[in-house]
């Protein structure tokens, strides 16, 4: 019995602690902490206010001095001819000096918040709202200094309070920033989806229209029936969240070093000669032996069997002459006029309910036994994708293909796959590996519903050094790519992302054992560009400037300055909301509350923007460091 109740208690404690460290709990905890601090400081500081009411003392002292001066003058006056001695100059000088002294004391007193009209009003300053604002300024490390503790208890408590409170606030802000970043990405994706794709279309057509003109647009309506996602297919939204800005950058993929893989083919070289090459094109180590490629295909099959609704395997060769056919193949294999396309239905696994809904197909386009195996995992569900593309599918698909290789190349940040025993479906897939070729490029590319964004790269384990070399080179390439130094920015980084759950795929689930990249980095490819985040923060500051300019009657520059100084947690304290009113009136307290709300939310916004920007900045810095040779890999 006792044990039972103890375990129940333990569970309760666990629940409580889990709640505390969730978002809501953390916010509530911070709020509670600041309210508790408010009461504490109110108690501590209000008692001792009279002691520190200094200006009265100074004024009386000044008055006495003045009296003395005048009395001395009066004595002189009474003793002799006062008209001559009692010239105003000396008296005036003395009085002036005394007044200056008084003024200095006044300045000290006022700037150290010791002055106010009378102790009662001064006590108002440590009213509950004033103390709350004080606590907020402490734990956010702003520290306006518009009120500060005067008693030694207050100072000690402030130190302890800050030691506890600052990390707490940091934790809370980071948490809120994370969740806000997620929602911001979502919003960005939702809002900018359409326009980005439109611009992307234009981007696509610009470079490719010179060489590729195929009349295959008519094949479009033959698209497979739309894949209707089950209600649990949430991450498709997440996938949608991802692509357009990415593909927009990727499609200019011709200056990518890995475009050279395809660029080595004579057919594609015509469209790619004009673009700059990577200085180190020699390091294209993504070459796998034949058997390895086969195994990769098998693994992919295992992968698709469980998770991916559609899979297209395309094997291409470098010596292929017609770029049209070549290019159309990976996009819509079953639609392309290429005669060498085979379609084999995938043995749909009964275990996965999705594969039943989705039209799954294994398409192997094999022309002259090429060295490429492009495995495209294609969830071809949204018909809107096709409808929004005005141009011929051949165009888009060609660029897609070019991007797919570059993507695959750049996304090799992922860990090399471990050696894996071929699964049960291997036998059926073995023949698709091209026979008689020395090497193959193997890319497995998972296509999100709308456009190609994410990539699955399959690396087989070339044991030992080759593997290391491969991954290293690829990583370096990806780094330089992402940094945008001389290369395109292929942002689709991480792979092995399960399109169904949107999470990193666990190896066991697929029957493979590779390392799932944590979802934190897999969210990297739905990055929001830095200028947009900057603009967001700037607009927040601008809104704050307007708000406080209206509320306080400051000029726009002053209000903006106040917002910046506040949000950067510098906190000079020359502008504090409600300062001119002396913090004691109702109005001033309302302003204080507004200010603290603005401040808290603004800090969360800043944390969010750090979250959004940081990864890209780090990448850029790394690429820069690589570029200047400061950092080695």
């Amino acid at each position: 019995m006792g044990k039972c109740s103890w375990s129940g208690f333990e569970r309760g404690v666990k629940l409580v602690i889990t709640f505390v460290f969730s978002h809501v709990g953390l916010c509530a905890f911070v709020a509670g902490y600041s309210v508790a601090g408010a009461f504490l400081f109110k108690e501590l500081e209000q008692k001792h206010i009279e002691v520190h009411y200094e200006p009265l003392r100074h004024r009386s002292a000044c008055f006495h001095d003045l009296y003395n001066i005048t009395e001395r003058a009066g004595e002189e006056l009474s003793s002799r001819d006062w008209r001559e001695i009692f010239n105003s100059t000396r008296w005036q000088e003395e009085v002036m000096e005394r007044l200056t002294d008084f003024e200095d004391r006044l300045v000290t007193a006022v700037s150290n918040q010791l002055y106010d009209q009378d102790p009662d009003k001064q006590r108002e300053r440590w009213s509950i709202i004033g103390s709350l604002f004080y606590c907020v300024t402490v734990i956010t490390t702003i520290g306006y200094g518009h009120v500060s503790p005067k008693t030694w208890e207050g100072k000690m408590v402030t130190i302890v309070y800050a030691i506890m409170g600052i990390p707490l606030m940091l934790l809370c802000l980071t948490n809120i920033g994370n969740s806000m970043a997620v929602s911001f990405r979502f919003m960005y994706r939702r809002v900018c989806c359409v326009c980005c794709r439109n611009t992307e279309e234009e981007d696509d057509q610009q470079p490719s229209s010179t060489t590729l003109q195929t009349p295959s647009g008519s094949t479009e309506p033959a698209a497979p029936p739309p894949y209707t996602p089950p209600p649990s297919y949430k991450p498709s939204r997440r996938n949608m969240l991802i692509s357009p800005p990415i593909s927009a950058t990727i499609h200019r993929g011709s200056d990518n070093p890995f475009a050279l893989l395809t660029g080595a083919e004579p057919s594609n070289s015509s469209s790619k000669t004009s673009t700059p090459r990577h200085p180190r094109p020699s390091q294209t180590h993504l070459i796998l032996p034949d058997a390895e490629a086969n195994r990769i295909v098998a693994e992919c099959a295992a992968y698709t069997k469980t998770t991916v609704p559609g899979l297209v395997i395309t094997s291409l060769e470098p010596s292929h002459n017609e770029c049209h056919d070549y290019d159309t193949v990976p996009m819509n294999n079953h639609l392309s006029p290429s005669s060498t396309t085979h379609q084999t239905p995938e043995p749909s696994a009964p275990s996965s309910p999705l594969s039943r809904d989705a039209p799954t197909e294994w398409t192997v386009a094999k022309e002259n036994g090429g060295p490429h195996i492009v495995i495209e995992v294609q969830t071809d569900h949204p018909p809107s994708n096709n409808s929004t593309r005005p141009g011929s599918p051949a165009l888009t698909s060609s660029t897609h293909h070019a991007s797919s290789t570059s993507l695959a190349a750049s996304s090799s940040l992922s860990r090399p796959w471990p050696r894996q025993e071929s699964s049960s479906s291997t036998g059926g897939l073995m023949p698709y590996g091209s026979e008689g070729d020395d090497s193959q490029f193997v890319h497995v590319r998972e296509r999100p519903p709308t456009s190609p964004g994410k990539t699955l790269v399959v690396y087989n384990t070339l044991s030992g050094d080759a593997l290391l070399e491969q991954s290293r080179v690829a990583r370096r390439m990806a780094l330089m790519n992402k940094g945008g130094f001389g290369q395109i920015r292929a942002e689709a980084t991480t792979v092995f992302t399960d399109p169904i759950t949107g999470q990193a795929v666990n190896g066991d689930m697929l029957g493979l054992s590779y390392r799932p990249i944590p979802p934190d980095t897999s969210g990297a490819d739905n990055r929001v560009p830095i200028p947009i985040v900057m603009a967001f923060v700037a607009s927040y500051i601008g809104v704050g400037a307007l708000l406080f300019g209206w509320l306080e009657g400051w000029s726009l520059l002053d209000a903006g300055y106040f917002c910046f100084i506040t949000l950067s947690t510098i906190g000079f304290g020359d502008f504090v909301p409600g300062k001119s009113l002396g913090y004691e009136t109702q109005e001033a307290q309302i302003k204080l509350v507004t200010g603290s709300l603005y401040l808290m939310f603004g800090l969360a916004v800043l944390a969010m923007s750090f979250n959004l920007v940081q990864e890209e900045v780090v990448l850029k810095c790394k690429a820069f460091a690589l570029w200047i040779g400061l950092m080695k890999e």
Binding site: P55, L106, S111, G143, L468, R515, N611
Partner: protein, 381 residues
Amino acid sequence: MQTAYARMVYDRHQHRIQRREGSAVGEGRRTTLNLKHLLQDLCRRLIAFLFTQVGVCGLVVAYNIVGAFAFRAIEGDFGDAGPEETALQLREDMVRRLWNVTLRLNILEEAQWRDAVVDALQEYQGHMVPLIKTRGYRGIHPRQAWSFSASLMYSLSVYTTIGYGNMTPRTDWGKLATILYAIVGMPLMLLYMSNVGEILAQVFKFVYFRACRCDIGSLGYYRSGSGTIRPVTAANNRHNKQEQQQKGEKQARRTIPITYCLLVIAIYVLCGGIIFSQWEEWVLLDACYFAYISLSTIGFGDLVPGRTVAGRDDNEEVETQQIICTVYLLVGSALVAMCFNLMQEETIENLKAFWRKLGCLRKEKRSKTREDIERLSSIGG
């Protein structure tokens, strides 16, 4: 800024873990032949040097000094002296009024004189207080107030986000310059903190493990070894092995307990407190409070060394004090960064263990994958 720094440190920690697991193979740089390339290389090296520890320190100091000159020029020389002129006007008016009072009412009529003077004084105070409060009158002409050392402290307080607020820009240009200065300066400070903090952390670790931990560990090991009098049985052997494993783990972890870090900070704060209490004739608590508030970048500004508020005397001494205070704060922030660096590893591990223990965080999967990776790397390597 705090958030950014925390994120940065955490990320670096993660990267270190990854690097430890993954393979780090260096690659030699290519030699360049061209003159242009040579120049480029020179530029790169310069930039590379600027981003090393020494370079960053120099950069921060130079930035600080440049900022000091800039703010001195903007606020001091071309600053707005309006409040000072108003104050002077007020003072002269006051003297004239007092003179009139004294002339009109003879000193002998004491009660009336007293009333009049008190009234006048009160009115004077009523005029002065808004001037101080809202217009930032500090009793010194800006040219004196924005001395070099004071500007140095001001620019330090801007880019470290301390923000004392004892001196604030009055002109529009000063405000704009402050904003720009902060925008550029805060990332620089972040860089400084991370770089210098890292290197200080390494030094501290080295000293710590050299000075105390290694000796104690080996001592304990020997003692336990000598403690076993029995002949070495299989069980004993296993026990020894376990011990060795434990020791290996301990050495592999190589973290410094949090209490030591806190102790370092506390000692630094105390030292600063003693120094400032000597100079400024503050109470020791006040001085420690100042040091703490500064190092935590709260920066109330109620206590600021140098008496920039109303100091008119002993300028030389004040200047040196302010410069030393600036150096103290710079070193202190690096020290705080070091402790952050040392503490975060330990803290993260502790927190994870705590949560795992409570069952709030499911870590098994991750650790499993990590095991997988280790196994893989052992196979591959």
